[in-house]
Symmetry: C2
Subunit: 255 residues, 2 copies
């Protein structure tokens, strides 16, 4: 992969460009339909950028890093056949790429925010390609960035992406609910920081099933009922509390 | 508080003893009904230990750090009136302490595991006492350990403890569900580590409501339906996925 063009200028495009450049891979150009966004990444990374389809440069690898709904459209912009084109989505099949080029997927399992500095060397990359040789090349490329590179077909990639919903989106929602309860009691969200961080840190040493604690784990119905009392005027939280408590109880039923 | 006795020898007792000693507070003795457990902490911290009620020393402060169900029993063991006795539970009222001594509560909001080294200086402590002067003394003591000390009555302490269920117990359950999905797809739990850590790290810079991402946040029903398909044979996970997705959608309805 002597040359790479990135299509898209969102959070994934931003961090992928940075990760590739940091590992001396040759990203030549950023294309995006909104020029200002391409410019932002282009100038930050000192590479050329464009919003004109006709100006998209010839390269060995095109990485389409955009919203799922835009992948197909972006995939039409690449007018070359003897190139590899990949998207970076966990939930789209390789077949959304429309073109006569060779196709593949390079999916990073991480949550990306533009403003944040983050490690790239442990991000899991999941790869799928039409052709064996392209898989080898993509694995080699991803290994320049990270130590966690896996070949994975679409059905399993979708499941991995769904893991992200549980471990990131739903976890974030739990933080938001806890933060709301703090707020209603006149306490700043920050009182939860040490607990949030210790809960995540523990995962480096323990499997989550071993690390589980709390009233549901112990089957402590006295405390559970006190919490349900507290929540009785909030049917949404009450329902979530009950369902998650039941789920934990069921998980440890045979202990 | 010139002298402290700890009653109990679980995770909270272990870390509280260590935190107090690290800040040169005078923990004189550990009492526990199972001698081997008191011995473990006593020897690690070079303080005396006993399993005999008659050997409990006279001290200024007694900290009962045991399971909620045992607080009342432990509270009978202290034969002095001119002392302060506190428990460390978020979900028990001060009144579970039975005795003619002065009463209080010193509740740390954190998840404690014996084997782990952890910071104490940011753990929030929530304090309640019968007498104003004891509140001052407990705040002073807790401030030796941590920068986050709050006076809080029982009703609010119960809510704070419930926040811990959301931000720790339920979050851990989300990790466990995600880990189970990884396992069923032949992937190690460790592929989730960077995502878990980034999700927690982000909370240092963003409020959870701003940090929320994912298909539910975007209202992306195509991806949501793909995930529901994947889960269709697991009614427990299907139900949780749907309820949390609905809850996130409702939260951002007015955006």
């Amino acid at each position: 992969m002597n040359s790479i063009v990135i299509l898209g200028a969102g959070n994934v495009a931003f961090h992928l460009t940075r990760a590739l450049l940091e590992n001396t891979l040759n990203v030549r150009q950023i294309f995006n339909r909104t020029l200002s966004k391409a410019q932002e990444i282009g100038e930050a990374s000192r590479i050329s950028y464009t919003d004109k389809i006709s100006e998209i440069e010839k390269a060995d690898l095109y990485i389409i890093a955009c919203a799922d709904t835009a992948i197909e459209e972006f995939s039409h912009y690449i007018p070359y056949d003897d190139v590899l084109v990949v998207h970076t989505s966990g939930s789209s099949p390789m077949s959304v790429l429309k073109g006569d080029y060779r196709k593949g997927v390079l999916y990073p399992l991480q949550t990306f925010s533009k403003g944040r500095t983050m490690r790239y060397d442990n991000i899991p990359f999941f790869i799928e390609t039409e052709h064996e040789k392209d898989a080898q090349d993509l694995v080699e490329l991803a290994n320049r960035i990270s130590n966690e590179v896996h070949l994975l077909p679409f059905e399993k990639r979708l499941q991995v992406q769904m893991c992200g919903v549980w471990a990131n989106n739903f976890v974030n929602h739990m933080y938001a609910i806890a933060g709301g309860i703090c707020e209603r009691n006149g306490l700043p969200f920050d009182v939860l920081q040490p607990l949030i961080h210790e809960t995540a840190e523990k995962m480096l040493e323990m499997e989550p099933k071993q690390a589980q604690t709390g009233p549901a784990r112990r089957g402590d119905d006295i405390i559970i009922n006190r919490h349900l009392d507290v929540l009785q005027n909030d049917s949404r939280l009450l329902q979530i509390y009950q369902i998650l408590t039941d789920s934990i109880k069921r998980e440890y039923d045979n202990d």
